[in-house]
């Protein structure tokens, strides 16, 4: 008997994709969407469950400095990542020799190392008597009696850049590789120097992958808990993520923890909007 394909398809389509999607979507609704909405709703509830701004008043009173610190760390590291990653990715695009081959093989290494290991690594490397200070003292650059104190903004930034620059380079690299040589040659023959080629041709043509990588770097820095927790901990100022952990672990104060969470959402609002917009546009 001949079975028409279109008939069997029609009979299957309606229930099958719903059945295929249902388990994963149900899981995400219960374990992601519900907690996400709960975090916003609960930030406006006091201990008795009544609507109030109590959590926000307490957050602003106690943590304004930390929110500002988180924002500063994030902006500073995103800008540094942008500059360093663009320079490295452009360098990989315009020079191909033995040195770039070695570099492009090793630069990815930090990417594959989980944050908790990076945190421990930086914890020992940047310590007052850690390897970095000892090495600088050997070179006569510092006096070990007054080692560099790095468990603060500086050390945190070193850790973030160590992990995020390779990530940004990896995304940008793909975009730069896709630009055809003829564009560069055309600009050069029209009299443009290498600097002009980079700022007028390479960077504008790779704008979308540069932006996406920086948006991801930005939101990852806002949300990272391990590195600031193990490097700075409860010292002042610290990041929002560390404050949330302290609020939950020491005080069981979920209200203020959620208000802090909402502040972290606000910090990424613009980047989240851009990310969702481009990604949803891509898949259409």
């Amino acid at each position: 008997m001949q079975v028409s394909i279109s008939a069997t398809r029609k009979g299957l389509t309606v229930p099958s994709y719903i059945m295929l999607l249902a388990p994963a979507v149900t899981f995400m609704l219960l374990m992601y969407a519900y907690p996400f909405l709960a975090s916003i709703v609960r930030s406006f509830l006091d201990k008795s469950g009544a609507f109030s701004f109590e959590n926000y008043l307490k957050t602003i009173d106690l943590y304004t400095k930390d929110i500002a610190f988180t924002f500063t760390v994030t902006i500073f590291n995103t800008v540094c990542t942008a500059v360093l990653a663009i320079l490295i990715a452009v360098y990989f695009r315009i020079r191909q020799n033995r040195i770039t081959t070695i570099l492009s093989a090793i630069y990815k290494l930090p990417l594959f190392i989980p944050f908790v290991v990076v945190a421990q690594m930086m914890n020992s490397f940047l310590a007052p008597h850690g390897l970095l200070n000892v090495a600088l003292a050997q070179l006569g650059l510092i006096d070990l009696k007054q080692p560099l104190q790095l468990f603060n903004f500086a050390g945190l930034s070193f850790g973030f850049l160590w992990k995020q620059v390779p990530f940004a380079v990896l995304i940008m690299h793909g975009g730069f590789q896709m630009i055809d040589n003829s564009y560069i040659e055309a600009a050069r023959s029209a009299g443009a120097g290498m600097g002009k080629v980079i700022t007028r041709v390479l960077i504008p043509m790779n704008k979308s992958s540069i932006l996406v990588s920086l948006v991801l770097v930005y939101s990852q820095i806002v949300g990272t808990f391990t590195l600031p927790y193990m490097l700075i901990g409860g010292k002042i100022p610290t990041t929002i993520t560390v404050d949330i952990a302290h609020r939950v672990n020491y005080f069981r104060d979920f209200g203020v923890a959620n208000a802090l969470g909402v502040f972290s959402y606000l910090l990424v609002l613009l980047t989240a909007w851009y990310y969702l917009k481009t990604k949803l546009g891509e898949t259409k």
Partner: protein, 277 residues
């Protein structure tokens, strides 16, 4: 004759860059390695005065030690491994059908589904874990292994769905249609044609979910403490008072991550790789 200095200058600059990159990338890593074998290391000595693999042996349960923080990590290792294996099985069982549906069907509420799977990448996840903890406390799942597994599935599922749907999208629909046209039913066509073609991508996605689970810290920290001690949490709790021991665990965690990620990175889109830890 005038010498052209430019190429020499550029070469010198490149060599300086190379040395600097090596120092920046391997400096922190070598600190970890030195600490893991440092038997005696009193500052201001630049290198350990006495080295031995005693801490490795203690960590791996070969030798017993009474030093603070030096417990065998073998139980934590097997716990992490077990959690990761169960996480991969459940997460992939959810991700493969969903990824297939997203790749092959036109779904009326598709944008909403995509949105749901993109959100965790766009917003900080920590507030989610805080509220999951509250939910789990009510349900009696806080501080239990099943609770930790559910959180690991949450972290892995998003990447699982994106990687599998990209994999299925890369397989031309004509292959499955050809099978259907000679009389194969939809499930048969899927299992005989599409699944084997998608196998490498699905394998890469499973490995990725496995590694995210093995390295997961934040969710386990909120939901699993104080009873579930995975490898990353053991590393965290020993880092305060036993530098050598913490370094050994860090290196043990680092090896599978580098190895597996190196193997599958060709198959992955650059974006996914950054979502770890």
């Amino acid at each position: 004759m005038k010498l052209n200095y430019r190429p020499i200058l550029i070469k010198t600059f490149e060599l300086v860059l190379l040395v600097l990159s090596f120092l920046i990338i391997f400096g922190p890593m070598s600190s970890l390695f030195l600490w893991s074998i440092a038997q005696k290391w009193y500052w201001p000595h630049p290198l350990p005065q006495e080295i031995s693999f005693a801490y490795w042996k203690q960590a791996l349960g070969i030798e017993k030690s009474l030093a603070i923080g030096a417990v065998s990590i073998v139980p934590a290792f097997f716990l992490s491994l077990g959690i990761a294996i169960v996480t991969v099985i459940i997460a992939m069982a959810l991700a493969i059908p969903a990824g297939y549906a997203l790749a092959k069907y036109k779904i009326p509420f598709g944008t909403f589904v995509m949105f749901l799977f993109l959100m965790p990448n766009a917003f900080p996840q920590q507030p989610i874990f805080v509220n999951v903890l509250q939910m789990f406390t009510r349900l009696g799942l806080a501080g239990t292994v099943p609770g930790v597994i559910i959180v690991h599935i949450l972290v892995g599922l998003v990447f699982g769905v994106w990687i599998t749907s990209a994999t299925f999208r890369s397989i031309p629909p004509s292959m499955e249609e050809a099978a259907r046209s000679v009389g194969a039913s939809a499930p048969v066509a899927f299992f005989r044609i599409t699944l084997p073609l998608a196998a490498p991508g699905l394998l890469a996605s499973s490995v990725f979910v496995f590694i995210t689970s093995l390295d997961e810290f934040t969710g386990t920290f909120f939901v699993g403490l104080p009873f579930v001690h995975t490898l990353p949490l053991t590393l965290y709790s020993s880092s305060g008072y036993n530098m050598q021991f913490a370094s050994v665990i860090a290196l043990i965690l680092l090896i599978p991550s580098i190895l597996f990620m190196f193997l599958i990175q060709r198959v992955l889109k650059a974006e996914y790789v950054g979502g770890m830890g």
